[in-house]
């Protein structure tokens, strides 16, 4: 994992450097856009101060050599260490993505089981229809729909994490409730596509498994149908879902960026977008790096979980 991370950090750095110009040019452009101007000496002074005059490889080394000490660089725009800028937002991202994952599993598995057991029933067809609908609506669209629908029709707060009067209030039960009211919509929006996918996968797996010989064996023992499904069918059908979990994590992370931007939730999303626009390279690079780390860790956890539930997979 460590070599992978080093390679990724390098690629990340290269990708961040690809757009023409640097942070100073983007500052220049912004100032010029508001009618101001900077003389060449100031620009050069800024470059030297931020170390942007150094060769790229030196900049890269300066950046990564801080990692072991927990120093992920300095955000040029926020004038603060990167870690300080993203720490809290990373937490929100993890929370919302994690809740969305839980939502997906809790909703899709029962529906998938039901759909497979009562294949082609009215409810199965309805779930299939809703599933395809969920699959085909992108999350930014859902966020926008929710924004309009929630604000204009339901008249509930459809964006942000807290109501305005709660933002600076100290933690209390009321603030927590307020948070929950704001949190469920982004979680569901983030989870919809994945839920629809998992329903299809679970249904397909289970239909597959139900045709297996050991299911007939279990029935021939005299086990009640519910026990056959629970012990023998679902147990096998869930394994591929765990492998899918690893693939779902990057989708959750990129999804949380989009949903975060649209619904102005302080996930890492809005700040990431901003850092890319202003070419705040250490911040953007660190965010990318954190996300790939999350992805790697998530995949590792999924692999470990799979090895735990399936005796056929044991890493020696």
């Amino acid at each position: 994992m460590i070599p992978t991370l080093i390679i990724i950090s390098f690629i990340t750095f290269v990708v961040i450097q690809l757009p023409p110009g640097d942070f100073v040019t983007s500052v220049q452009a912004e100032i010029a856009a508001t009618g101001g101007g900077m003389d060449a000496a100031t620009v050069e002074a800024m470059r030297i101060r931020y170390g942007l005059d150094q060769p790229k490889i030196v900049q890269y080394w300066r950046w990564i050599s801080g990692f072991p000490k927990g120093d992920f660089g300095y955000s040029l725009e926020w004038n603060a260490p990167v870690w300080k800028v993203i720490f809290k937002r990373l937490g929100w991202t993890l929370l919302i993505s994690g809740l969305a994952l839980m939502f997906m599993w809790m909703v899709s598995i029962p529906i998938g089981i039901y759909s497979a057991r009562y294949q082609y029933s009215v409810a199965d067809n309805l779930f299939s229809f809703l599933g395809f609908l969920g699959l085909s609506i992108p999350d930014f669209m859902l966020s926008l729909i929710w924004l309009v629908f929630g604000t204009l029709v339901l008249r509930v707060p459809a964006y942000g994490l807290y109501s305005p009067q709660m933002v600076d209030a100290p933690w209390s039960w009321a603030k927590f409730l307020d948070l929950l009211i704001h949190l469920w919509a982004p979680v569901i929006i983030l989870g919809v596509v994945g839920t629809a996918e998992l329903i299809r996968i679970m249904r397909g797996n289970l239909l597959d498994v139900l045709n297996q010989q050991y299911i007939t064996t279990a029935r021939a023992k005299g086990l009640p149908e519910d026990a056959v499904i629970r012990k023998y069918a679902v147990r096998m059908a869930i394994n591929p879902l765990i492998s899918v979990l690893g693939m779902q994590i990057p989708k959750m992370i990129s999804g949380s960026i989009i949903v975060g931007v649209v619904l102005s939730i302080p996930t890492i999303g809005p700040i990431f977008l901003r850092s890319l626009i202003t070419q705040d390279m250490y911040l953007a690079g660190a965010i990318l790096l954190f996300m790939t780390t999350l992805l790697l860790v998530g995949n590792l956890l999924a692999d470990i979980a799979l090895a735990m539930v399936d005796p056929r997979i044991r890493y020696e």
């Binding site: 010989q213 007939t216 147990r235 056929r312």
Partner: protein, 339 residues
């Protein structure tokens, strides 16, 4: 002889099972009748797709309820203990009653030992589960009992904590047998138990089944397309073709004096020891018709070498003719002779 015949364990009368598929109705079993007496082995032979397995699965009502229907006929089974006779064709397919019979009074061993045990539970777990379902035992007692059963099928005791994927095909079939016999069923349905195994292992499994049959005094319904297995194990034989039992009798009658043209063809198509080596085997001409076609009268008449065009498509060929005691054949050749 007649009083003996009344003491049947399982009696299938004119069973008819249809599958409803998108392409149409598949008449998997059109007319099957069988009688199994306690402690004896009934061999059920026929080509692939002739309805052997469907007949077997109907006994335990294991067929998919959504597509499959028992159209008519009865499956009479005499229960252990009180000798009460119930018609399995009429019970709820997932009801309490059939579940108390499955694995307890009628057990089943399947064709593919590689897939008939769940790969994610240990062998012991799956056997103990079967025992606990039907017997009032403490988990520890059930475990000891499962170990005993594994010993009875000549498996090492530590197999109890192994996962099925660590066992060979023959070992798995032994484990399956241990599981099936763990509740002392009065009938064991062996659905092609040796087909997927190599010849040496086949012989071992057959030997095992025969010795356990004597110990436990159970009847076996041996389903196979391997006539050698039948000759070795069965007391009586029923030959099936396209969902119909076309001939039935004792092993000796069927092998020494086959009457139905299909049975004769079937026996001719297997190689025999000591016969002239240059001689080619005689396959049955033609192939099994599409399962969707409806054939009136004798199902075999399309491939039959002696078919008399007149009459073979009539209804009366369906009636069994008893040419000698216990030897029944469904063929016009003999019904005319009998008349």
């Amino acid at each position: 002889m007649n009083t003996e015949r009344e003491k049947y364990l399982l009696k299938i009368n004119n069973l008819k099972v249809h599958f409803h598929t998108l392409e149409g109705t598949v008449r998997a079993v059109e007319d099957a009748s069988l009688t199994i007496e306690p402690g004896m082995t009934m061999g059920l032979v026929g080509e692939s797709g002739c309805g052997k397995s469907v007949t077997a699965h109907s006994i335990l009502r294991l067929l998919p309820t959504r597509t499959c229907q028992i159209k008519s006929g009865e499956i009479l089974f005499r229960r252990q203990g009180n000798n009460e006779v119930i018609d399995l064709a009429k019970v709820e397919p997932d009801g309490e009653l059939i579940r108390s019979i499955r694995g307890h009074e009628i057990a089943m061993v399947f064709q593919e030992p590689m897939t008939s045990l769940s790969p994610v539970f240990t062998v012991g777990n799956q056997i103990i589960e079967a025992i606990m379902l039907h017997r009032r035992l403490q988990p520890q007692e059930a475990r000891e009992y499962a170990a005993e059963m594994l010993k009875a099928v000549a498996l090492p005791e530590d197999v109890i904590d192994e996962y099925p994927y660590r066992l060979s095909g023959g070992q798995r079939q032994r484990a399956m047998t241990a599981m099936a016999l763990s509740c002392h069923p009065s009938l064991l349905i062996a659905d092609e138990p040796t087909t997927a195994l190599d010849v040496t292992t086949q012989a071992q499994i057959i030997e095992l089944l025969k010795s356990l049959q004597q110990q436990l005094h159970m009847a076996i319904l041996m389903i196979t397309h391997n006539l050698g297995v039948i000759a070795e194990t069965a007391d009586r034989v029923a030959v099936m073709y396209l969902g119909r039992v076309v001939e039935s009798g004792t092993v000796k009658q069927i092998f020494d004096n086959p009457l139905h043209p299909y049975t004769i063809g079937l026996l001719k198509s297997i190689p025999r020891m000591g016969s002239e080596t240059k001689k080619r085997l005689a396959p049955i001409p033609g192939s099994v018709p599409d399962p969707l076609t409806v054939i009136e009268g004798c199902a075999f008449r399309l491939r039959c070498p002696v078919c008399k065009q007149k009459g073979c498509d009539g209804k009366d060929v369906l009636d069994a003719v008893e040419t000698e005691p216990e030897h029944f054949v469904h063929c016009l050749l003999y019904s005319k002779r009998a008349r």
